[in-house]
């Protein structure tokens, strides 16, 4: 039930954003994430954007894993 999916914001008007979700455009509420901007990747749950996905962190995890990999 706490399933949430990532999507990119392609348009924003007040508290509503249009995101692209597996090729389909969908409106989601930004009430819980007013700071999100067009271009951000956000996590969507029950029609709301819940959190901005930190791209730097997303890559850092990979780097970290790669580093550990090289230790092996």
């Amino acid at each position: 039930m706490c399933l949430a999916v990532p999507a990119k914001i392609i348009d924003k008007k007040d508290q509503l954003a249009v995101v692209e979700l597996s090729g389909v455009q969908r409106e989601v509420s930004l009430m819980l994430l007013p700071e999100a901007e067009v271009g951000d990747f956000v996590l969507i749950h029950a029609g709301f954007a819940m959190q901005i996905i930190d791209q730097e962190e997303a890559e850092k995890t990979n780097e970290l894993l790669k580093e550990m990999n090289s230790l092996a």
Binding site: M1, L43, H45, A46, F48, K66
Partner: protein
């Protein structure tokens, strides 16, 4: 991307090697979240972990822990001619004490499945002569969406929208589990999307009061392996802590806007968890200021509850005491199409996940396929 795939494989085998090296005695790690249960099955993680590491499912499926009394009340509302029930689809099959919403729907009740609670506001605007009741279930991830919906309804001055709240909070449930001497857990895989809202702080009591390792986890196979690795390190070093493996989503302080909205609309209340019983301050009720939107207050209803006796062992499953296959109804009288207990209803319920992905293919804890 064959190269990326190769990398993933290498990283996974490195993590597994390390887990094997760090864990020198049998440990039980509990995944709290139903989405993790499913992710773990899908990726076949139990099969690849060293046999010393046992993963057990916890109480982390909101549908599974929703009490009979709540379902009975929802069904009673659904039977009223002037009511439309708006709900997430999962709730239709959840058994109440004598019936289910699915049955009520088949008998003509107006029950609509929504993807977002906001859709119930549209239904309310389109049906001014009806009362729309949204079944507000879910943990800290979902509760803010219901709170935001109540605030929107307030702003729109809707008079025919209500919530019937059965939200649950995760930290009090973990406290109750840890106070139970029967429950044996050596570390927690914390629910990433709950923490995306709450942040890390509400889980600090795990290491501080219970000396319990805890790692906030994402939902990709590598996230879960890395989480088990971090837990293994904490266990090995004897230094329990709340670590965050899911930094791309979970900020240290979570989502303050969502938390503030939640606190504006709801306040903690004692709540009954199916199979576990009452847990202090583990639920949410609508605050007085928004009581006009609280179905229980604004539309009181008489509900007959009958105490139901079944051999369902959901309560033990939810506390990680038995695996679903140990229930004698599992896969026989109790099936996803015909659930006896709520753990068989949602795909994220432990029994349903075991039935779909586990049964017959893997012997729990033995490492045998």
């Amino acid at each position: 991307m064959p190269e990326a795939k190769q990398d993933t494989k290498k990283i996974a085998s490195f993590l597994l090697q390390e887990i094997d090296r760090l864990i020198t005695k049998p440990v039980r790690l509990m995944e709290v979240c139903g989405t993790h249960t499913v992710a773990i099955f899908r990726a076949g993680i139990r099969q690849v972990l060293p046999s010393q590491v046992e993963l057990v499912s916890g109480p982390g499926c909101p549908v599974c822990v929703t009490a009979d009394e709540y379902m009975d009340m929802a069904i009673a509302y659904a039977k009223r001619q002037d009511v439309i029930i708006a709900t997430f689809g999962d709730m239709l099959k959840v058994p109440g004490s004598t019936s289910s919403l699915g049955e009520a729907k088949a008998n003509g009740a107006d029950i609509r499945i929504v993807y977002s609670p906001l859709e119930s506001l549209e239904i309310a605007a389109n049906h001014p002569d009806k009362k729309i009741i949204f079944l507000a279930v879910g943990f800290e991830t979902t509760a803010p969406t219901a709170a935001a919906t109540v605030l929107s309804a307030d702003e729109k001055k809707l008079k025919n929208f209500f919530v019937l709240s059965a939200h649950k909070l995760v930290p009090p449930a973990l406290k109750t589990l840890l106070a139970d001497p029967e429950v044996k857990v050596d570390g927690f895989i914390l629910p990433g999307h709950v923490c995306a809202i709450t942040g890390e702080e509400p889980f600090q009591f795990l290491p501080e009061q219970y000396h319990m390792p805890a790692v906030v986890a994402g939902f990709e196979p590598l996230d879960i392996l890395q989480t088990v690795y971090l837990l293994a390190k904490q266990i090995h070093d004897g230094k329990p802590n709340v670590e965050n493996e899911y930094k791309r989503i979970v900020k240290k302080n979570g989502n303050p806007v969502a938390r503030q909205m939640l606190a504006e609309v709801y306040e903690p209340v004692d709540a009954i968890w199916r199979g576990i019983g009452p847990i202090p301050n583990s639920g949410l009720r609508v605050k007085e200021r928004y009581q006009a939107f609280d179905a229980e207050v604004a539309l009181p209803i008489e509900v007959e509850t009958t105490v139901k006796q079944t051999a369902c062992r959901c309560g033990e499953v939810l506390r990680g005491l038995i695996k679903p296959t140990e229930c004698r109804l599992f896969g026989k009288a109790c099936l996803p199409e015909h659930p006896i207990g709520a753990c068989m209803v949602s795909v994220e319920g432990s029994c349903a996940a075991w039935y779909k992905y586990g049964s017959g293919r893997y012997q729990y804890g033995t490492g045998n396929n």
